[in-house]
């Protein structure tokens, strides 16, 4: 009931709309007239996904167009599926939404989510009213396998899986169980200890500082203390204080260790030596880094984008846009100026899924109020759809505050989208395994283990078992065994959620129209032509205030065409500036004012009966065209 009321509230705030901007309830939940296998693991490999994309492009030639935006480092095509109705105009004549999955090598469920989105969209065109309207009036650019090379290595990681090549994987399957899992070794300087609740689970060392738990390094130098507050926030595109790129550092407060040295472990990827220490609590990473590349150190695809890029960012690479796949995407996105939103799908492991917003390292009020308000609103929609999922950024993240990451994660895609391009972006994180047994809407590690034990015959997580290592002595092998990032019912729910949310976002685009067109004769052989333009969409034609600030906005251009006459004065082509969208003026003035229109006029020398056409365009707001016959 509460959810229904909330949805009603949403609809009323956003206003009734012919364009379905309150389309929470417009998309029929459970409309799954497509078959999709959410139980398959490992997910399809590159060849199969490529083939399916090609099949879909052939099956739906009017609305699907498959392109390659470049080659990966290993020479694979980076596929992009462009979905729009070719009969209503070319893709670049409509507002565009960019969606990518599997940007991080291991976050392979992104490709499934993206493929599900593509399949369902194509299958319900002409059937679902909202989908049809959106495909007619928007363009979707979807890259299911951004890091195709890394995704391939991830999905062939284990000897038990098809396509496994041992020399392309870190570590090896010492105990012959078919999986490259983990080895733990007692180590007084180790970062890990066993969970008191389930011996299979290893927890990272924490220490308490004045009642607050923080992650802590256990290096010999105990004063090395990670706190994002102690680090200088750097890398904004505007020039700041004199020493903005020098770290300030704070003295560490006294800490008390919780776990005695004799109970600590170091964990490594199962293998012939200790080359691959596991230092990340991310389940799916499992000692194999989330990035691609045989170079050392490897580049993280989500640290290589140019906004707030730092040379001292782990995984930042030699310079921004050095990764060929990221570079290819940047060329595509910057050439397609109609793109107004970027949706970058990830799969971080947390008990509850969330979505991250730009700027990752800034307080919310760093953003212009109008832009901030936009994220608050779509965050509210995300929460409503997701049953309580939150929207956040690193600045306010619990993990960051707990010192998990210090001041890392610069050079991310969504920050680039907002800071350098002035378009909106979101980075949803979503693991989807296990079950919410207790119904509290959090799926903890214990619930994942229970699902593993009860539903999956325990196959995804091994107990620690002694093993005589060739060089390291007695070790214990265990840990996650090729556990997927998403599977079964939770994956179906999550894919459905993103599908609906994306359609909602697509609906928020600016929408430029010629509301009316008129002409009057002002003198012998001279007419004034007046076009009243309207933005019928939710976002302003400039998309974000940021775009105005960085001068990357695409203003409205209006052009008059006349065959038998000429334009007097200003010129046939006029720059009509911008028109606010509902987001701006409703927020400012409530329902009482309407700032959605603007007038442009021309003077022409022509005779009665001449035909005059007006065409208007704004890159991210689409186009419109009307013709009028001069009379009188």
């Amino acid at each position: 009931m509460r959810v229904f009321l909330l949805m009603l509230l949403m609809v009323s705030i956003m206003g009734p709309s012919a364009y379905g901007q309150g389309s929470l309830n417009a998309i029929v939940d459970g409309l799954t007239n497509i078959e999709y296998d959410f139980s398959r693991w490992p997910y399809p490999l590159y060849a199969e996904v490529s083939e399916r994309l090609q099949e879909l492009a052939v099956q739906y030639p009017e609305i699907a167009n498959l392109q390659t935006i470049g080659k990966t480092a290993e020479g694979r095509d980076i596929w992009l599926m462009e979905i729009t109705s070719s009969s209503t105009g070319s893709g670049d004549s409509k507002p565009g939404l960019w969606i990518d999955g599997n940007l991080h090598a291991h976050e392979v469920n992104g490709r499934v989510r993206a493929m599900y989105f593509i399949e369902r969209l194509l299958a319900t065109y002409g059937v679902d009213e909202v989908v049809t309207r959106l495909i007619d009036s928007r363009v979707f650019y979807i890259v299911p396998m951004f890091d195709a090379d890394g995704g391939e290595r991830s999905l062939t990681r284990h000897p038990a899986w098809t396509g496994h090549e041992p020399n392309r994987q870190a570590g090896s399957d010492l105990n012959g169980d078919g999986y490259i899992s983990s080895m733990r070794i007692k180590d007084p300087d180790g970062w890990w200890y066993e969970s008191p609740q389930d011996s299979r689970v290893m927890l990272r060392l924490r220490a308490r500082d004045d009642g607050r738990w923080n992650y802590v390094a256990t290096e010999h130098d105990e004063t090395k203390y990670w706190r994002s507050s102690g680090q200088q926030v750097v890398g904004s595109t505007t020039v700041g204080a004199a020493s903005r790129w020098m770290s300030t550092g704070e003295g560490p407060p006294p800490i008390e260790h919780q776990v005695p040295p004799e109970e600590r472990y170091s964990i490594y990827t199962e293998g012939m030596d200790s080359s691959y220490p596991i230092d990340d609590i991310n389940l799916t990473v499992n000692g194999f880094e989330r990035n691609v590349g045989m170079e050392s150190p490897p580049s993280d695809f989500n640290r290589d984008w140019g906004a707030e890029w730092r040379p001292d960012e782990p995984g930042g690479g030699p310079f921004p846009f050095s990764v060929p796949e990221v570079r290819a995407a940047a060329y595509f996105i910057t050439e397609h100026k109609n793109i107004f939103f970027q949706y970058n799908m990830h799969a971080d492991q947390t008990a509850r899924n969330y979505t991250a917003r730009p700027g990752l390292h800034h307080p919310y009020d760093w953003m212009a109020p109008e832009d901030n308000e936009f994220y608050t609103r779509i965050g509210a929609v995300w929460s409503a759809m997701g049953g309580g999922n939150i929207i956040e950024n690193n600045y306010y993240s619990q993990e960051i505050a707990a010192g998990a990451y210090t001041d890392v994660q610069h050079g991310c895609e969504i920050d680039w989208a907002y800071i350098s391009r002035g378009i909106h972006a979101l980075m949803p994180e979503g693991m989807a395994i296990g079950k919410d047994y207790d119904g509290d809407r959090y799926v903890t590690v214990q619930e994942i283990l229970r699902w593993n034990d009860e539903d999956k015959e325990g196959k995804f997580w091994g107990h620690w078992e002694s093993f005589q290592h060739p060089t390291l002595g007695v070790v214990e092998i265990g840990g996650p065994l090729g556990i997927p990032p998403a599977l079964d019912e939770r994956m179906r729910e999550e894919s459905n959620l993103h599908y609906r949310f994306l359609l909602h976002i697509a609906d928020l685009a600016p929408a430029l129209k010629i509301a009316d067109l008129s002409a009057e004769r002002i003198a012998e052989g001279e007419y004034r032509v007046v076009a009243r333009l309207q933005n019928q969409g939710y976002l302003a034609t400039y998309v974000s205030r940021k775009a105005l600030e960085i001068r990357r906005d695409n203003p409205i251009l209006a052009r008059l065409e006349i065959d038998t006459g000429e334009v007097l004065g200003g010129g046939a082509l006029q720059n009509a500036g911008h028109i606010l969208g509902k987001h701006s003026y409703l927020w400012r003035w409530g329902a009482g004012a309407d700032e959605s229109t603007k007038t442009v006029e021309w003077r022409v020398r022509a005779e009665s009966g001449a035909e005059v056409s007006i065409e208007v365009r704004a890159a991210q707001a689409g186009r419109d065209r009307r013709t009028i016959i001069l009379e009188g």
Binding site: F319, P320, F321, Y331
Partner: protein, 610 residues
């Protein structure tokens, strides 16, 4: 230097006039500049190039295709000391050639400290690449002839890209109908009076006025939006009044021509439309970044512009922060090489853009020297070169009056046309004539004696900078026999060069950043500093103790330790690597020890133990 003839100047680093008013300041000469190992400016052998090698009077300069042909020729002629690398293509597909210059017999290029030198970033600044064409010719011709050049090439590597923007350079050097390669549809302005040159138009608004109005020769534009030959749409500036032949109206609205000097990744400014779509979006700039970051031995990046006419000057980082924002050790290095420049080019100065806001106060981002320093932790530097005329009064600067005098007396006034009346379709009765418009400005080109002097000077300065590189040396290699028959071998290593092995404190800051986190720390920070490593190989025995190789960390250079300790007479700071060798039962035993550091070269010594 006053603006000549009132026409628009082209912007360089800051959008201000390239003809800056000169400040003849007092030069602080640091005695350390000319020292034992740093290259003395006066030590070079004179170079008189043949016509094939270099022609100081050639104008217009050679077109990109001809330059590439010559570079290929040189690579074939001097294979032992130069290799041409095809590092990428320009946006229109022209080859970008990078010349790797070193004596390959003493080691691969990457095994020695390297200087990256480039020019042509601003295509309107036409003299820049010419300085590097001279540099290459002289370096190759004088190897084996000039001991200083030989010494430098034996122990350093130059990576030279003469022209980073050949597509636009082609346009710049074909801008008059009388010049080969001219294409009317690609050039601004118009040769209204058919004399073969785009010169200037002048008229008086009012016959009673003293001052003329000036515009480059051409028709006035009346449309708001234009597309230039490179496909970029821009709003016309009514000040230029040039007619740009439209190809088509572009509906994307505002796109502006990218400035190659704003496309590097450090402090890249999105709101500067000249910065390009994203950092390193330009294929030429991307090629530079890729090449430079692949070569760990590069310790200096020298980027040549050509804003100098009356005077030359240098640009140092940081463009957006005061000097004291930089670590004092790095700051000190810049002061020293600035002082050296002032000695070599008397009265010429160095400054950072932070101190010349030119009234805008805006962030200037994406410049190569800033990128080199902030992101790569190496020394980046920019040079504003160029010049013609004669310094008649020996003031160290060529004023506009001296330039005009030289033009008339030495050049027979050949770069200007007499003022002749013309009936302009829009302006009415005007005169056409004056200096020919060129991309660099409406004044005589940089040729002649001033170029002879300045290209020579630039060459000496680059050699001087190269001489400052870090150089690891084994200063002592000793062994001691132990009671149990093994030998303890000690190698004392020091840095014989002026710059430390880490090059800048900034590099240490990047690599030693406390930004390293525990989780995800396996995604290591990509180091920009490379410590010295010592290796040993034994003939007639084996190592029983001591790692091979040993990381002995960094070694400070003379700039650091002499400044710190000169007064106290300290010894040269060194570090020691130690091993224990067990000899075979019988026979001779010897060891070979090698020290190397990516930016500091290497050294080898052998020692017989028995």
């Amino acid at each position: 230097m006053r603006d000549l003839e009132g026409t628009q100047m082209w912007r360089c680093y800051r959008g201000s006039s390239i003809l800056r008013s000169s400040i003849i300041g007092v030069t602080m000469v640091f005695l350390m500049v000319v020292s034992v190992d740093a290259q003395r400016f006066e030590e070079f052998v004179d170079f008189e190039p043949t016509g094939e090698q270099f022609d100081f009077d050639r104008w217009p300069y050679r077109l990109p295709e001809a330059v590439n042909a010559r570079l290929q020729e040189l690579a074939e002629k001097y294979p032992g000391i130069v290799r041409a690398h095809h590092i990428g293509n320009s946006r229109e597909g022209r080859k970008l050639l990078m010349m790797e210059i070193t004596n390959f017999e003493t080691g691969d290029g990457d095994s020695k400290p390297g200087l990256w030198i480039e020019a042509g970033v601003h295509p309107n600044e036409t003299p820049g690449p010419v300085y590097l064409e001279y540099f290459i010719e002289r370096t190759l011709a004088m190897y084996g002839v000039d001991p200083a050049v030989s010494r430098i090439l034996d122990t350093r590597t130059f990576y030279v890209v003469t022209d980073l923007n050949p597509d636009s350079r082609q346009l710049a050097l074909t801008s008059h109908p009388a010049w080969p390669g001219y294409k009317e549809e690609e050039q601004p302005g118009a040769d209204l009076n058919g004399d073969g040159y785009i010169t200037q138009m002048r008229w008086k608004e009012n016959p009673t006025e003293d001052e003329y109005q000036y515009l480059p020769e051409g028709r006035l534009v009346d449309e708001d939006w234009h597309m230039d030959p490179l496909g970029y749409v821009w709003r016309s500036s009514s000040a230029t009044g040039w007619e740009i032949k439209d190809r088509e109206r572009d509906w994307t609205g505002r796109r502006e021509q990218p400035d190659y000097n704003r496309n590097f990744g450090a402090e890249w400014v999105s709101e500067d439309p000249g910065a390009g779509e994203f950092p390193f979006s330009l294929p030429e700039i991307y090629a530079v970044a890729k090449e430079m970051t692949d070569r760990k031995n590069i310790f200096f990046m020298y980027d040549i512009h050509a804003g100098g006419v009356g005077r030359e000057w240098m640009i140092r980082p940081l463009s957006n922060q005061p000097y004291q924002a930089m670590h004092h050790e790095d700051n000190d290095f810049y002061k020293r090489i600035e002082a050296a420049w002032s000695v070599l080019s008397p009265g010429d100065q160095t400054f950072s853009d932070y101190y010349t806001p030119a009234g805008t106060g805006a962030t200037i981002g994406g410049l190569p020297p800033d990128w080199a320093y902030l992101h790569q932790g190496i020394y980046g530097f920019g040079a504003e070169v160029g010049g013609s005329g004669i310094d008649y009064d020996g003031s160290g600067e060529v004023t506009s009056e001296e330039l005009e005098r030289w033009h008339v007396e030495e050049m027979d006034g050949q770069f200007a046309e007499p003022w002749v009346p013309y009936d302009h379709p829009q302006l009415g009765a005007i005169e056409i004539g004056g200096y020919r418009v060129s991309p660099t400005g409406p004044f005589p080109p940089s040729i002649g004696d001033m170029m002879r002097i300045r290209t020579d000077r630039s060459f000496r300065y680059l050699m001087y900078v190269a001489s400052l590189a870090p150089e690891v040396r084994i200063i002592d290699l000793m062994s001691m026999e132990n009671a149990d028959g093994t030998f303890t071998v000690n190698a004392d290593v020091a840095n014989d060069g002026w710059i430390s092995t880490y090059v800048t404190q900034r590099a240490l800051e990047i690599g030693g950043s406390s930004n390293v986190a525990g989780p995800g720390a396996s995604l290591n920070i990509r180091a920009r500093d490379f410590p010295a490593m010592v290796e040993i190989s034994v003939d007639g025995g084996e190592i029983v103790e001591g790692e091979v190789p040993q990381n002995i960390g960094h070694l400070v250079g003379k700039f650091t330790y002499i400044r710190q300790w000169a007064d106290e007479g300290q010894e040269v700071p060194s570090k020691t690597a130690t091993w224990v060798v067990r000899p075979d039962a019988s026979g001779a035993v010897s060891v070979e020890v090698r020290v190397s550091a990516h930016k500091a070269g290497n050294d080898v010594r052998t020692l017989k133990l028995r």
